[in-house]
Subunit: 259 residues, 2 copies
DNA sequence: TATTGTATTTCGCAT
DNA sequence: ATGCGAAGTACAATA
């Protein structure tokens, strides 16, 4: 336990402007204080004085957080614009300009509570399981969970209208298009499914079933689907998707081929 | 310039667990160090050891950032689960459980570089102009920018298929449905527009024009539209939308009724 | 509370 | 580079 990585900076605007300028793109920068923020680009935003915390990463991404909520108040994507620190009338200013999008971003601190920098290395890669692609791969190997007698034809079947999650054949030999959603089904999802179905109707003059699988459906979506002969299947992903009681750094294969 | 708001904490796991526990939900907490993170809920994620910065806000939102990129590695939404700090074998642990979604979140620090807390008040409200709703309201008052002789009929016209951004009448008296997008048009947008048009065809047996306005269209979307008699209008929002050279805290009215 | 739609969406992946 | 769809999307507005 040591602080060797951390450099606590003086909080005067002039010193900070110089210290931060020397460290930007090299270290993580953290500044807490009272500031305003202006963004002018795809949108215009103005934020009056308030207590916030600023993080500037070595890749020049910028994140400004207030005391509530999970989304930053303002931000900048990595590599979008060079970060400049300067001082004017005791105000510490962070200013960027993004050439690509012609956007300006400026943060002005009239008071700094705490400022420090540190070196950070993080080689770890996030391991994730349970996203939509896992869901569809799992379900494609357990089609009996959808209905008995289904035979898988294609995963990620390509059409001019996009990718069909699962294409299979039912007990009567009819094609079945399955569109999977991990979240509540939306009208847009229903339209997507409809496009896929219509693709087969138009291009192959073939009658196909089409089914939207999602954890829940609003009334409006249900009606839209049923009115067009599209099927809706409520499928609580949490109930069906296998839960690993302890996280064991599973690979995708572990995940898919485990029973 | 003072640090009166800031409390620098000792970095030993045991002391931190106690200090942070005492301050959580009361102050902003900031901890930088080397940690792992596990999330088990809607998805499972595992993150191996790495240098990261943790922010815990008084509303119990949690944000964990690595040294790159703008999105947090892991997070927790405000009010979703009580935040607990504890110490085990010199490891500082943040642990939450969310009853509502049955989700677990755990961060383990084996080393803490810097830890501190502060009081933050931020009463400012973000003032934004230039989002989609401003765009549509502005355009509804300047329909000549779309084509000459248009008369506004409805803004946000409700149909069973959703809201039509702008409904107007053209020089020949035909209805024109306008769907606006601030970003590139997608197939889903085109399909949405098609359904609005079909709504009028089916329900009112009325021929209507339908136009998708967006800054850009992919070839696929263009073809989809033209094949169905739907119109595409490229409309660089940045060129047309009035730019306020200095941000003057405009109200929506200032914005709309200003010439 | 549930639903709906926007977002400076961001991000990854495939073409 | 561009296009496309998912996201532990988050978030606000609305019914």
């Amino acid at each position: 336990m040591d602080r060797s990585k951390v450099m606590i900076l003086p909080t005067s605007a002039m010193e900070l402007a110089s210290d931060l300028s020397a460290r930007v793109t090299k270290q993580m920068l953290v500044v807490a204080g009272n500031c305003t923020a202006e963004f002018d680009g795809r949108i215009k935003s103005h934020l009056d004085w308030g207590d916030r915390i600023l993080i500037v990463k070595p890749d020049e991404s910028i994140i400004l957080h207030g005391p509530a909520g999970i989304k930053p108040l303002n931000w900048q994507l990595p590599g979008e614009g060079r970060v400049n620190f300067l001082e004017e009338n005791e105000i510490l200013i962070l200013r960027t300009y993004r050439p690509r999008t012609a956007e300006h971003f400026e943060i002005r601190f009239r008071e700094v509570f705490n400022a420090w920098t540190y070196d950070a290395t993080d080689l770890a890669q996030m391991k994730i399981s349970g996203d939509e692609s896992h869901f569809s791969q799992y379900l494609s190997r357990h089609l009996d969970l959808v209905e008995p007698g289904l035979d898988l034809m294609f995963l990620e079947f390509i059409t001019p209208h996009g990718y069909i999650d699962i294409l299979c054949r039912d007990q009567e030999g009819k094609h079945l298009v399955i569109e999977l959603k991990k979240q509540n089904a939306t009208l847009s999802d229903a339209h997507q499914l409809e496009r896929y179905r219509d693709f087969f109707l138009n291009k192959e003059s073939r009658i196909v079933r089409a089914m939207l699988i999602a954890p829940s459906f609003s009334m409006r979506v249900k009606q839209y689907l049923s009115k067009r002969g599209l099927e809706a299947k409520e499928f609580s992903w949490q109930d069906v998707f296998p839960t690993l009681p302890e996280f064991q750094h599973p690979t995708l294969d572990d995940f898919l081929y485990k029973d």
